[in-house]
Every structure is written in C-alpha cells, then in structure tokens.
Amino acid sequence: MQPGASILRQALTKWHPVGFKISKGSAPINRRNFLCQSSLATLAIAGGLPGMSWAVRGNQLHIRNYNDIVTLDPPFMVSGAEAVVAKAMLQCLVQFQRNGTWDTEPDAAEYFRQIDDTHYDFRLKPGQMFSNGFGEMTADDVKFSYERMIDPNRNALNSVDMGPLSHVQVHDRYSGTLVLNAPYAAFLTIAVAGSSGAILSRKAMESVGGRFNIEPPSSSGPYVFRQWQAKRKTVLERNPLWKGPDAAFDEIHIYAMTDNKAAETAFEAGQLNCAQISVESTDPFRKNMPPNSHLELYPSGRNYWLGMNQDNPSLQDIKVRQAIQWGIDVNAVVEAAWFGLAEPATGPIPRGMLGYREKTLVPPQGDPDKARALLKEAGVELPLRLRLDVNNDSLELTAVQVMQWSLKKVGIEVSIHAQDNGSFLNIGSEAAGDQWQDVQLFFQSFVGGGDPYYALVWWIKEQLGVWNWERFSSDEFDRLNHKALATTNEPERERMYWRMQDLLEESGSFRFITNGVMPQITRNTIKPAFLPDGYPILRGFRPVQPA
C-alpha cells in the first residue's frame, strides 16, 4: 500500500474505534458510513491505492505532438503534426533516412529510380498487405494515391506538393512509372518521401466513398490506427500484418499538447517518454535533468527573419533598409531570445539542406557606424520612427525587443505592435484590404520542408501581396527559382539557391535572424528518431535497456 493510503487508513481507524473495513457487505447508509465511504473514494481517487498508476508502462511510446490532428487524409492534411502521425501508419515509396539528413531510402518500393528529368520508375516490394482485409499493395494503389492528389475536382490543399506530376503508368502488379510534365527537382523530397506521397488502398478508399477524416480505412505501415480522442490523443498499435523491421512498440500514444510547459510538466511527471520542450526551458532542464532522461537539440527548420516592406514610403530608399540590416546585431537577438542555443541564419535555407549559405553578406553582428552612415547618406531625419508588427509570442517579442534596442542606437525608433497570429498573418495580404501599404517592418517565421524550393518560393512576383510582404521583386530571382526547380544537377542547383539568397539580402528588405532550434527530451529507455528539422519519425523509435 502506498503512503497516502496508509495515513488515511490510520486516521480512519483512529476516528472509528472499531476500525474501518472496506467492502464488507451492505452496511446501512447513515452519516457515519457515508463519510467513511466518501473518504475512501477520495483516497482512491487521490491515487493512494495501488494499481492506479498513470505513468508510462508496458511496451508503449507516449509522445507529445505539438497540435491535434485535423485529418489524416494526405491531400487535405494541414500541418506537420498530422504528418508525424500519418507516416507511422502509411507507407511512401521512399522514406527519409534517420541519419540527420534529408537523404532517402526505399520504404514501400523495392527500388525507386529516376530515368530522366520527368520519369521515375518504381517497383513495390511484394507481400505488403493493407490492414482490414484490403489485400496486397499494388502499383495500381500507387497510381490511385498519386493521381488522387492532383485530381482538379478535389482542389486539394497539398496538390501543390506534387508539382508538375502528370500521371502514373502501371506496368504490372508491382511496378510502374511516375510521369511528370516538366522537371521538378523537389519531387523526391516533397512529393515522394513526404506525407503527400503516402500510398492508400484504392479498394479501401472506395469502400468509404473516396475520402476519410481521421481513421484511415486501411494502412500498410508498421502501425495501424486504433483510436483518436479529439484534443487529447491518437493511439496507434502495431500492425500484425507488417513484415518490416520497424514497429518496436505495442502501442504509441500521441498526445496533442499545444502548450510547451504542459508537455514539460507531463514529462517530469512521468506521463511522457518523449517531448518537445521550449527553448527557455532547455537550460534549466540541462542543469536539473529529470532522472533517466536526456536532451537533444535539433535545428528547427523554421526560418525567422525581419522583413521590410520596400513599397512603404519610409522604406523605399534601399539605403534605409540597408541601415536597418547593418543596425541589427543578430548575435544579440539569438542570444537573448534563443538563449544562444540556435545559430544565426545565413538565409531561409537551414544548415544541412542543399543551398545552405556559409555566410551572409551583412555579418551577423552588424555595424552600427555603417548603419548610421547609410542613414546619413539617405538624408533621413533622425530619429526615424518605424512600426514593427510581430506575432504575440514571447520568443518573438523578445527577439524584436532586442532589435528595437539595436536600432535605437543608430537613430531608428521602433514601436512594436504585437498581434495574435490570426490578425498578424493578414497584415501583408492584398486580399485583406489596403493595410499592407502601412506595413513597415515585420518579424516573420515560416517552416519550410525537405527541399530548398519551399524555403524560397515565397518571394517570387506571383507571391506579391500574398506571402511576399516585403514586396521584393526580381526577374533574376524568379528565373532562378524556375530553373532551380527544373535542374537535378545538385551543385548547379545549389549555386542557384546561393544566388537567390544573395538577391534577397542585396535588396535590403531582409535581415535573416535564425533557423531556430527544437529541443527534444527523451527517456533513456527510448532511442528516438527525428528528421533533421526535429520532427519525430515515430516508426524509428525503439525501446532500449538503460545502461
């Protein structure tokens, strides 16, 4: 018996001279019995009785997900939180390796080969079975899944991931060819290995009318869907039909936890065995690590930058924008907001991804004297007063406050306007009215994907007034964006992305801050697996015996 139960039992015995007995027939209901029994119930609820453990037990993985799932149907998934869950259940032709890179290896495919710029051959491993009696996976299921993504009648959110995919040719039961209308360099990482390339059973999908929300009618991966409780958790269990090496756990419980602090407490309380924690908690956790745990830092893949609306009258002069670039000490921003755990960014493309630049044109520490000189050249009357819009988030607010301090030293007075995410995401949108014209400075962040294309496409001319709030406009940038997407020669492609980032910086409208950091804390009894951007690969998690 646990201490709580013992103490209460003693107290009850003291209170009642003949002691107190649990569950002894039908005692008459009177005040005294009621009090005794309600006390016992309280004791039981308080966890004093054994066998009511809530901590992680058995061969289960209990892990935090940063958000709840909206749908697991690949064309309509809206966030990375869903991809984390879906990829444990659904197979793709290829998958990302678990070596901290964006390199791929076969998943459902026995092989996957690029034949030329627009043709990719694949052959499925024989004997991969769909759950719920929907039979073996065939090339026709691949055709169904890929062509469903680009079906114009569906107007699917993630159809853009498939780029110029035209159709899928089926050669026989297991093999086929993915045919593109044009070269698409991001095809492998974004379309084939990403959650948009998940393979569904044609028969299973037809049995549910062509679409599902949460529970896939069938899946072929290491785990299968068992339960979803809205705003609480999703439970997966081992797929008995799975023949591959994964599926190390009987069950995976994935908790939807939007709040970092709640996740940290749950981990400390023993209810989770892996959780993403906040940046500010990283150091306290390191100094006072929960027992049997370890912490790892991953670059988050989120791009943080200060944007400047070059169409705003106060910022039309490039010298003013350059003065802001030189006036901001990025090292100080990263030190204050990310506690020095992240590194200054060199551009939207994070370290480890093709196109990562080794350094920026404007050094991270900036140069206040140069900034002042640029302002003088621009003939601006000081102090220059500017408005900075930012999402109402403590980390981002800290970052902009340091920028505010940096810029004040060179004669620029910045007023910070924090807004909730819903309002903030509208400020540069032409569709929302004329307010974009009043936008001056803004602190923005965005998560890319496994390909540099996603990190840079937002500044082509087509995106003016959509996500290109800087109003950056460059023919060369647009041309390179198009060309880089069409070339599969990696060194050549990399040079294009370097140049594109140079162009962004040369415009004066960007001050790249950091790609962030994603701290993950894990029990030593678990060997985790993460993508290079810190998202968990659930099928790669393994139980281990502590040393």
């Binding site: 609820i45 308080a46 959110l157 809205a230 908790y255 407490t265 749950a266 309380a269 937002w458």
Partner: protein
C-alpha cells in the same frame, strides 16, 4: 411558480439571443483569414475562396447571422470546413469534460465552503473563525493558475500522486476522477473562500432575525435552528452566486484545460478563435452562453423555491 419559470425562461432566451448575436458580430469583426491561419502558405487563392464561400464569409454579416440562426433552428451548427466534421459533434464531444470539471470544482467548493462559513458564523470570533477568515481570503486572493502550477509541481511532478495531464481513459471512472482532482481544486479553491465568507455573512445576519430568536424561545435545539431555519435562508445568496459561478467557471476552465492539457470547451474555443475557425467558435460560444444563461435560470428557480416571496415580486433576486 409555472408563470415565474415561463417569465424567466423567456427572459433567458432573449438574453441568449442578444449575447450570441453580439458575440457573433464581435468575432467576425476581428481581422484574420481562417485559410491563412490553418492552411498556411499552401492555400491557393481558389482554395481560400472556396473556404470563404463554404464558411459563408463572402456574405454580409447580417446574412451570415441570419443563416446561423436558420441553421440553428434546424438543429444544425454547421460543418468545420477543415476537418469536414459537424460542429455539433466537435462541440459536444468536448463539452462533457468542461461540465464535469466545473461541476466538480463548484461542488467541491460548496461542500467545503458552506460548512466552513457555518462554523465560522456559529463560532464567531473564535480561533476557527479567524483561521477560516485568513484561509478564505488567501484562497480568494491566490490566482487559480498559481494554485494550478503549485499543485502540478508538488502533487504531480514531485510526489506523483496525481497525473499531470489528460482526462483519463474513456470508460474508466476512477482514472477519470483521478485526472479531475487537480484541475478541480485549482478551479474551485478560490470559490471555497468566497462561499465561506458569503455564508458566514448571511448566517450572522439571519441569526439576528426575529424568527430565530422566537425559535430559541420555543426551546428548539441550536442544531435544529441552524440547519432548518438559519441556513436555509442564509444559503440563498450563495445559490444565486453559484448559478453565476458555474457560468464564470465555464470560461475560467480554459486555464485549467491548458495547464493540465485537458480536453474541453474552453480550449476548443480558444484554439478556434486563434485559427479564426468561425463555425467552431460560434458553436462553442452558443453552448457556453446557453449554459451560463441556464445556470443562472436554475439558480433563480431554486431561489424561488426556497423563498416564495421571490416568485411574487417578479423574481428579482
């Protein structure tokens, strides 16, 4: 009594209509595009237009409001365009968690607060009274989220007596009750002090009344006088406050749901507002407002049952 209930019911419906209409207008006037927030950069202009059209956001506000009430009259709260699930299902799968939390908090607060207030009044100026006064004021003064954090740190993290997150497994009553303890204490502790002070003040007032003196003159026991004559009247203001308290707690439950990672209507509403998911926001607002109005109505009716004078003067309490 029936006329009283009918009068009160009509008033409650009117209040509900006005409150929901006002909230509808306020929510829709906040800038923001749900497609931008939820779908992010991938959302094409065509998709945004489709979502806007499916949510009815391309219509004037009055038309949207009219459509909302028309659908409501047919028992339809609309569909969440992102998950394609009925809003009714989304809201009502979260509501029980919040109701249980609120009822546990207010129930616990009443069970502790009323006896504490009574004892304090009976033993006026005693050590117990002073101790209760200090504790009550402390309970009222400490913000609920501070209580929640300390409960978490001590009872969940340090001693591991209680779980730190979740609402327990479905169908396992003890597990669910176990998960309920800390959030309910965090939410209800302030109300213990409040109810205790209220009951004490009412009891002191009632104990000076003529009918209590008369009862004493008749030789009734002090216990009978307190339980059957004094407390019955003294508890009236508490019943009124409890009615409002349930409504207040429905919104206050949000912090407990976030800190303890519990599902619930507060968290649902919070997330829906952030993402500008208007159908879910309106469904949640409607339900919480309805419960607020309903709990106030029930407290009015209970008051009227306990004190017939309230029925005759139109129910002003």
């Amino acid at each position: 009594m029936l006329a009283f209930i009918a009068r009160r019911g009509l008033l409650a419906l009117l209040i509900l209509f006005l409150a929901v209409s006002l909230l509808f207008a306020m929510i829709h006037m906040i800038p923001g595009d749900p497609a931008n927030v939820i779908l992010g950069p991938k959302a094409s202009p065509e998709l945004k237009a489709e979502i806007s059209q499916r949510m009815g956001l391309d219509q004037p506000l009055l038309v949207q409001l009219g459509r909302f009430y028309t659908d409501l009259a047919q028992g339809n709260l609309g569909v969440d365009v992102f998950s394609d699930r009925p809003v009714f299902d989304i809201v009502f799968e979260q509501l029980p968690y919040t109701l249980v939390l609120v009822l546990a908090a207010i129930g616990g607060a009443t069970l502790l607060g009323v006896p504490l207030g009574c004892f304090s009044a009976i033993r006026r100026n005693s050590l117990l009274d002073r101790l209760t006064a200090v504790l009550s004021v402390a309970f009222i003064a400490i913000p609920s989220f501070v209580v929640a954090l300390y409960l978490l740190l001590w009872l969940a993290v340090k001693w591991r007596w209680f779980p730190a997150m979740g609402a327990g497994e479905d169908g396992d009553f003890m597990d669910q009750a176990h998960h309920l303890v800390l959030p309910a204490i965090a939410l209800g502790l302030g109300w213990v002090g409040y109810i205790a002070r209220l009951v004490r003040a009412s009891m002191l007032e009632v104990m000076e009344e003529n009918h209590i003196r008369t009862a004493r003159a008749f030789g009734l026991s002090e216990r009978t006088i307190i339980v059957h004559y004094a407390l019955r009247i003294a508890v009236l203001p508490t019943v009124t406050i409890l009615g409002m308290g349930i409504g207040t707690m429905l919104s206050g439950a949000l912090f407990a749901e976030i800190i303890f990672s519990r599902p619930g209507i507060g968290k649902l509403l919070h997330e829906a507002v952030i993402t500008r998911n208007y159908p879910v926001v309106m469904g949640s607002v409607l339900v919480t407002t309805a419960f607020f109005v309903l709990s106030t109505l029930v407290s009015d009716i209970i008051n009227a049952l306990l004190d017939p004078r309230l029925r005759e003067d139109g129910g002003s309490s």
